[in-house]
Amino acid sequence: MKKKLLHAFDWLLLLGSTLLVCTFLGIILWDIFSKGLPAISWDFLLQYPTDGMTQGGILPAVVGTVLLTFITTLFAVPFGVACAVYLNEYAKHSLFTNIIRASIRNLAGVPSIIYGLFGLALFVQAMKLGTSVLSAGLTLGLLSLPYIIITTEEALKRIPNSMREATLALGVTQFETIKDVILPKALPGILTGVILTLSRAAGETAPILFTGVAFYINGVSTSINQEFMALPYHLYMLSTQHYAIEQVRPLAYGTAVVLITLVFLLNIVAFIIRSKYRTQD
């Protein structure tokens, strides 16, 4: 009887912790959505900010964030996947490759503001790309690389060796095996990791702060060497830097809703891919 009670207590403790976490999440979402949803309208999504950003919409910030994420993807995904393939399929387990692996894991823990400063030094100044959506995209790409490498490597590790032996034993080269069998089979896992990483990158503020994000531009960024507006920075600016913070608060909440929804949508896509993958096995 006593033992049973003890078990019940353990169970309550675990359940309580879970509920506590969910409660906080719920409060955050409720707070943002209840205050932000009234601000959302087609005009809000499709218009430029007007009247010193106290009126109008967030179109340039939405376009800027999408463009930025696109550049990040173009840069980080090919290099990240190639690196993971090399580490998992070709590299021998030596001291050297172990150092590479450890470095990549450490890079994933580097604070994002450091990436911002590094991007400023490398892309903006040394490579003379200026403060631009390209510089910012490349910086976010650097930030995303370690995550993409790690998740891709995990996806590749889950492919059983028998799959590799199957084609190798038919006289297929290792490269063809990877290209035609291993990567397609690992694709759902890779995509999940890529999407989750990008959804994180899309919400980053620090790395783009010095590398290209603008307080305000009058027009949608159309060229990759222009400065741009981005949702997270727009939110930061509306809530801390604006001259009439109280007045623009609904706009700030509206921006938060749009950013969160964007990230959620990406996460849902990742979730769908993952659950499809699971039923296949």
Binding site: K92, H93, P160, S162, M163, R164, E165, A166, T167, L168, A169, L170, G171, V172, T173, Q174, E176, D180, V181, P184, K185
Partner: protein, 251 residues
Amino acid sequence: MEEIKLSARNLNLFFGNKQILKNLSIDFPKNQVTSLIGPSGCGKSTLLRSFNRMHDLSPDARIEGKLKMDEMDLYNKANSVTEIRKRIGMVFQKPNPLPKSIFENLSYALHIHNFPKAEIPGLIENALKESFLWDEVKEELKKPAVKLSGGQQQRLCIARTVVLRPEVILMDEPCSALDPISTRKIEDLILKLKKDYTIIIVTHNMQQAQRISDKVAFMYLGELIEFDSCENIFSNPKQELTKEYIGGHFG
């Protein structure tokens, strides 16, 4: 005198510091089924996999000695690994169909090896017939191969190997994951295939070895203990160890 297809001379194989095969010499006759038997860990699979150079991928594997197919030195740098693996096919313990359709499982390697496109459907039909699978799958060649039963998958893997017209087929316990009926079908298939191919099979099943082999090699702790015709090994083994093993006293 029977013709020798595959041979190993003074083969030593190490994984790191551990020696798996010890000064092993053996000749496999052409168009016959040779079974490799012996307790787990005696090096049967390791020996099998050294012929199609599957150890190339293990960085800590080291091989000494001569391995030959006909007069070709299998480890001579001038010979391409992919060509060797095309000529020495392999079937694994667990069926490992590619995550593609039945048709693509067979066509994939044909494309890689540049077989003329027009011939591919015919080659595939032949290989599936040869592997006793055609009647079961001819209506649904586009179906994913993983949807087949375990026995069908294994016959598909054999078809995938024979479609390339190899000279030798290595089989690493091809029936150990299958039920008795599927096992029966694979055994019939092996007996039929030996007309055209030299077959070497690793098996833990003594009845199976007796049913299908022309010759049997008994290995123990990385050494070849006895190599003789199937009758001699099972009815009149010369070595005490062989007698004990096939009598079920250890292993």
